[in-house]
């Protein structure tokens, strides 16, 4: 089974990675460009990172985005976990299939439609658009991702663990807190990180439902790019890439940990 990589494999991996990461790599390199012109290389420099620190509008947008992402992740995690529990644990209640379909729909729904629908809703019920409408919209958008992750963990959960806890005198609610929650916690944490990341980089939905004083970072970047790409944009994008990459690594480590099942009974160590 242990074979070295063939030439074919090495080539496909190299091509695949180049296809995925060459544009990003170019962006990262150009963020360290000393030249004012984006497409002309003027030597290495970190001046655009320094000038970014003086860009009040960009920093303000970043701060708004982080706050929205944090609140979104918390709300989506609670709602998504509850939905996952209902889907896995409530047995066959009436409309279960419909419910699971409804929970998963936002996964495949075009964001333009989600954004438009939410905008219509907010206009109809006359909520002032801004920070909170973006947070609500992002919660709607990301909740289903949390549900998918937590549900997978719950499906692989050995119910006899909960029965054992109750058998040993632990009431149902305490069983949930002391046995169930610690065991699905990695999946919940992974869901939180994913929701945070999705909220942080959403442009389409936020564009629909945002209002005055609630310009998120992607919206700010997009509007500046329309007036021409400044090297500062490359710098902020590089920072975002760093944050997202860190988040993805954390989430996948959590998921891997969540997937680590106890060794099979009777198995040899």
């Amino acid at each position: 089974m242990r074979r070295g990589l063939s030439v074919f494999n090495v080539t496909s991996i190299a091509l695949g990675l180049a296809f995925l990461y060459l544009p990003i790599l170019i962006l990262v390199i150009y963020s360290f460009n000393a030249s004012r012109l984006v497409t002309v290389w003027g030597g290495w420099s970190t001046r655009w990172y320094v000038s970014l620190l003086g860009n009040e509008a960009m920093l303000e947008a970043a701060w708004i985005s982080l706050r929205i992402a944090f609140l979104t992740a918390c709300a989506a995690t609670v709602l998504g976990t509850l939905a996952a529990l209902a889907l896995v644990r409530a047995g066959r209640f009436r409309g279960r299939l419909l419910f699971s379909g409804l929970v998963y729909a936002p996964l495949v729904m075009p964001e333009v439609i989600t954004g438009l629908a939410l905008l219509l809703l907010f206009v109809a019920i006359e909520i002032e658009r801004g920070f909170w409408t973006v947070t609500i919209a992002h919660t709607t958008l990301t909740m289903c991702f949390v549900t998918v992750i937590v549900q997978a963990r719950l499906l692989g959960f050995d119910r006899s663990l909960e029965e054992a806890a109750m058998d040993l005198g632990c009431p149902p609610l305490r069983t949930f807190i002391t046995v169930t929650l610690p065991l699905i916690a990695p999946a919940i944490a992974a869901g939180w990180v994913l929701a945070f990341m999705l909220s942080l980089d959403d442009l389409v939905v936020a564009n629909f439902v945002t209002g005055p004083g609630a310009t998120t970072l992607p919206i700010r970047i997009y509007s500046e790019v329309r007036l021409g790409v400044k090297p500062e944009i490359n710098a902020i994008c590089t920072i975002i890439i760093g944050v997202v990459a860190a988040g993805i690594i954390v989430a996948s480590l959590l998921t891997k940990f969540a997937g680590a099942k106890p060794a099979p009974i009777g198995g040899q160590i």
Binding site: E163, A164, L168, I269
Partner: protein, 386 residues
Amino acid sequence: MNGRGNRPDNSARTRGPFAPWTDPDALPLVRFEAVSKHFAGVTAVDALTLDIYPGEFFALLGPSGCGKTTLLRMLAGFQTPDAGRVLLDGTDITDVAAHRRPVNMMFQSYALFPHLTVAGNVAFGLKQDGLPKDEIAARMAEMLRLLRLEGLETRKPHQLSGGQRQRVALARALVKHPRVLLLDEPLAALDKKLRGETQFELMRLKERLGLTFVIVTHDQEEAMTVANRIGVMNHGRLIQVATPSEIYEQPNSRWVADFIGDVNLIEGRIVKADAAGTTIASASVGTLRTAAVADARPGDAVAVALRPEKIRIARDMPVGDVNRVEGEVWEIGYLGDFSIYKVRLGDAFVINTAAANVTRLIERPVGIGDRVWLTWAADAGVVLTQ
């Protein structure tokens, strides 16, 4: 709270065999009263009544899907009967939640908490009772010593061997001194040798702690080894409840005889029945003599259950035995301690016989194709009417 008051009171009795089920004054510890349970139209347990006495090691034995696990789970409180009552010490516990019942269960999967250490697992139940710390520590230490788990306190379940995990699961359930310990296929995941050792360890633990054990198993050898009494179940009903030797030597039906061990079932009709014995005519073996049967009447269709090891096999025509028949050795299974001889009588009927290999001969005196005589005593066969 679950003291040791359920220790069988042997001192009051003369030192006879332990058999409270024969004592009309004995009070059962557990009583199932006409309990039924249905799952989506399938009857898992069917109006079943059963008494289990203090100090018993009771085995529920049956093929998969016979309802034995459902019965155990109703005692644990994980399932509520659709009809009937479950009593513990004379108190109706049918509607008592699982976490309030003084019974503990050892799960087939062991269900050890993977996020807790061995110590955390064993102490879990004691912590639920809010016992003081030093008492928890003392009882845990005692139980870890009893199950030879000392030094493993800080290990997580995935760092243990299969046998160690099994003992942690046992310790976790036993440390609460349950009124009844429920064992759901407790040894199914162990290899054969470890399983055999653990069976005897279970019996020793039960005696030492003076508890009552109820085990669910599909392994008849396991049930015969550990249990004082066995309840043989099929289709949600108890077919026979008796001691292991009664189940084996006096099965009450063709089904039990066939389910427990190997058996030759010889169908026939009673020709003559009196106090001296019963004569049965069969198409396959000819005329058979068996011991007297209480309610046998000539003309009844019966089956004679004959265990392979009760039949002697010889090359020369024997004298003196009541039943004998000639046949041809068709197949031989060499098991080491025993050999199984399949002997063909006439064209179709095959009788299994088992003979202990008492000599160390590599070549056995009886080989395939040999003409042999099979003989058995009148009391070797059991006459079954059901």
